[in-house]
């Protein structure tokens, strides 16, 4: 049964689709934490992105406008986050938790006041699925990679681009330097605040994109708390991936795979509840067995005030 399942291309397509809303916020968290700001607000920012994506898409009748609006809202809330954590040295974890609670409340409140309890309108446009003509005909790869939502491809591009950005550009070097030792970066002439803003804002936009994928990519509607804890799983994926884009994707894929597998394996007489423990158990096993220690950027979570 397991073998048969592993050979099903839809399992692997589902893996990719399930990994996307984890990989994006994990990538977002990577940016933020690489610049030294602990980001636990992915869950909340995803909800912001998911809700405002639908809101803007519905009123403009364009999913792309929705996407843009969601990214802007993700950036705006991140500016606020950056302001209090970078300029005012607020505790990053507390602020992050505050944003999560705030975002869950705000999106539910706005959903009810704007659209009522029945949910968002069915006429909301969604982001398109794309069929890659060259790839979709290749056996095995085709059914997996050939036709997915546009955000899935975007995610793959962003992961690779982020890897290049963080590890092969001067700006990426600077961003990492700030997260490792802001004082040293400061004395080397870097603008610590600007770089941290950059990390936090890119991070917020990526988390927001993860939310948009849920609401406008997979669906065309918003549900209360539809992020469903993926922001927290993303936090785990980011740590698991050792604060790297490729690692985060890898962890997200592992998780997505286990989720997809637990879907496929159901119905064999074992309680679905037991089968659904699989992703979580597998993560622990992989972490302890293969990955072991993963160390955060040295100055992650530590506010930098040059006069102290």
């Amino acid at each position: 049964m397991l073998w048969a399942a592993l050979l099903r291309p839809d399992l692997w397509a589902a893996t990719l689709a399930m990994a996307t809303p984890i990989a994006l916020p994990a990538l977002g968290g990577t940016y933020s934490e690489r610049s030294g700001v602990v980001n636990i607000a992915m869950e909340g920012i995803m909800l912001i992105g998911a809700f405002f994506g639908v809101l803007f898409a519905y009123y403009s009748n364009s999913a792309w406008v929705g996407l843009l609006g969601a990214l802007i809202m993700g950036a705006l809330i991140s500016v606020l986050f950056a302001y209090v954590t970078v300029n005012l040295s607020a505790d990053q974890v507390i602020v992050g938790m505050g944003i999560n609670i705030f975002a869950a409340g705000l999106t539910a409140f706005l959903l009810n006041t704007i659209f009522g309890y029945g949910g968002t309108p069915r006429t909301t446009p969604a982001l398109p699925n794309i069929t890659l003509p060259g790839i979709s005909n290749i056996p095995l790869v085709g059914p997996i990679l050939g036709s997915q939502n546009v955000v899935v491809y975007l995610m793959l591009i962003l992961v690779v681009a982020s890897h290049y950005f963080l590890f092969h550009t001067n700006l990426g070097l600077r961003l990492r330097a700030v997260g490792e030792n802001p004082q040293a970066a400061d004395t080397a002439g870097l603008n610590v605040r600007k770089l941290r803003y950059l990390g936090v804002i890119i991070g917020g936009m990526l988390s927001s994109l993860g939310g948009v994928y849920l609401s406008l990519g997979l669906l065309n509607s918003f549900e209360v708390n539809m992020s469903g804890g993926r922001g927290y799983i993303a936090l785990a994926a980011m740590i698991f991936g050792k604060w790297t884009p490729l690692g985060s994707l890898g962890a997200a894929l592992l998780f997505g795979f286990a989720m997809a597998l637990s879907m496929v394996l159901q119905g064999g007489g074992i309680s679905s509840n037991i089968i659904q423990m699989l992703p979580y158990a597998l993560t622990i096993l992989a972490l302890t067995g293969l990955v072991g220690k993963s160390t955060a950027p040295a100055a992650d979570g530590i506010p930098y005030d040059p006069n102290k």
Binding site: E180, G189, L190, P306
Partner: protein, 504 residues
């Protein structure tokens, strides 16, 4: 000669301290200007103000008659000021090359990994510094890190150099190299501000000296016109004795026996079979260039690292596999080389730090419950006996100056009345007064018939205090020479692995 830098009436206070109090001094082109002062006199603070890291409360700074109003080091760098910081400003997770080019990377978008490595290799060669540009800074010894810190400044081609204690971590040979470089720069007309606690270096290379005391500039003198003793007196504000007097003493029976010890870390042997003994009433000095296995050796003796092979005997008992706790109880005291990393819990109060090694023993705790009163009494006693300032036992260790932090550790370890004290770099970064205090404590222990194992990179310190000196190189003990007979040259050669007896 043109005046390069002019500092006028700079004042800077931190909560509770005036670190700089109307400071005045100036630096001319082509001058090496030394700044001297006790720990906490305000030297680093002043340099950080010049470099734009701190904003002064009042006063003015002029660079070539231009008023400086830096709000960040970026402007200082643009104005051509380069600074080597006393506490490393390095990023351990990045490579040497990355650390050096950071903030001034060549090219636009792409980070040019290979080109940068080559460039840094050339730069290092130019200044006669041997370093691997692609090594991770976190993997380097402190001595090598110091070189990176210096290379960073040279990379930027500064017009004014500030070197805040650049020699504290260098071997004698490296110090010589650095002095050569400084002289070369002087001849090119580049002014250098040089901070050091080592009076002989200051005497040798500086043109003028400004002495600071308690945040104020006391005096600026021509170096030639003052003796080392004069400078020391000016710094401290009273007469100081610069030389330790070590009365002769017969050593007693052996207290620590180390036999063929092998210690390995990161999958390679760092200590490769070392044997020696420390006797009662003896200071055994361990000399060596940083990174040759001395840290691993003492951590194996104190129980912080496992001993792969060999045997360690203490007071006749085999302690090779004992825990840290057991060894502590048996009477081994240890002053670790990095006080922030190992020696203190910076966010604990002094009281809690004073009992760090004995909190679970009577009378500091009883049946698992801490005894606040006796801990406080003990702390007060230690604070007074070792002149820890401020005298507030509930202050956080973090808020003490480095010298006073070191005194807390010393007080804790010495007062445990140990049979053996292992002291690693006990005087690093301390001023002459504090060094003197610590040296006297070590000699007191020796007089009481205890054993002392002293590890230091400072040859002068080793030679002045040790009864016998073991020289370690590449994890092996090259030789053990009697303290009285050793010469700097002989030790220096042994430290670099040249065995004269074999060669000769």
């Amino acid at each position: 000669m043109r005046t390069c830098l002019e500092v006028r009436d700079i004042t800077k206070s931190f909560p509770g301290v005036i670190a700089n109090d109307h400071v005045n001094f100036s630096v001319s082109d082509g001058e090496i200007h030394a700044i001297l002062g006790e720990n906490g006199a305000g030297k680093s603070t002043l340099m950080k103000i010049i470099y734009g890291l701190y904003k002064p409360d009042s006063g003015s700074i002029k660079l070539y008659d231009q008023e400086l109003n830096f709000t960040s080091p970026r402007q200082a760098i643009q104005a051509g000021i380069g600074m080597v910081h006393q506490h490393f400003m390095l990023i351990p997770a990045l490579t040497v090359a990355e650390n050096i080019v950071l903030g001034g990377e060549p090219g636009n978008i792409r980070y040019r990994r290979r080109e940068n490595i080559e460039m840094v290799r050339d730069l290092a060669k130019q200044y006669h510094m041997d370093i691997d540009p692609s090594a991770k800074v976190g993997d380097l010894t402190v001595g090598l890190q110091q070189r990176v810190e210096i290379l960073k400044v040279f990379y930027r081609k500064a017009k004014l150099l500030i070197l805040d204690e650049p020699t504290a971590m260098l071997t004698p040979q490296e110090v010589e190299e650095l002095i050569l470089v400084m002289e070369r720069l002087r001849s090119q007309g580049i002014p250098i501000i040089f901070i050091s606690h080592k009076l002989d270096e200051v005497k040798r290379i500086s043109d003028r000296v400004t002495v600071m005391r308690a945040g104020k500039t006391v005096n600026t003198v021509e170096t030639k016109s003052a003796s080392a003793q004069d400078l020391a007196n000016m710094m401290v504000g009273r007469e100081v004795v610069l030389h330790v007097s070590k009365p002769p003493q017969e050593p007693g029976e052996p207290i620590l026996k180390v036999e063929d010890v092998v210690v390995s870390a990161d999958r390679s042997d760092k200590v490769k079979g070392v044997s020696f003994q420390v006797h009662r009433g003896e200071i055994f000095g361990l000399a060596g260039i940083d990174g040759n296995g001395q840290s691993e050796l003492i951590e194996a003796i104190t129980g912080l690292m496992p001993c792969k092979e060999g045997k360690i005997e203490f007071l006749g008992k085999d302690i090779t596999h004992s825990t840290v706790r057991q060894r502590t109880k048996e009477g081994i005291a240890y002053i670790p080389q990095d006080r922030h990393l190992d020696g203190l819990v910076l966010d604990f109060e002094l009281t809690e730090n004073f009992v760090l090694r004995d909190f679970s023993a009577e009378p500091y705790s009883h049946l698992g419950q801490l005894n606040k009163k006796s801990i406080e009494e003990y702390s007060t006693r230690l604070s007074e006996a070792f002149d820890v300032r401020p005298r507030r036992i509930h202050a956080l260790a973090r808020n003490l100056s480095g010298g006073n932090q070191q005194k807390v550790i010393l007080a804790r370890e010495v007062s445990r009345n140990p049979e053996l004290l292992i002291a690693a770099q006990p005087t690093r970064g301390l001023d002459v007064g504090a060094i003197q205090f610590i040296h006297n404590k070590l000699l007191e222990l020796r007089a009481q018939g205890k054993g002392v194992l002293l590890v230091s990179l400072e040859l002068d310190e080793i030679m002045a205090l040790s009864d016998r000196i073991g020289v370690i190189h590449d994890g092996k003990l090259m030789a053990i020479v009697p303290g009285g007979e050793a010469t700097r040259e002989q030790l220096g050669l042994l430290m670099t692995g040249v065995d004269m007896e074999k060669e000769g």
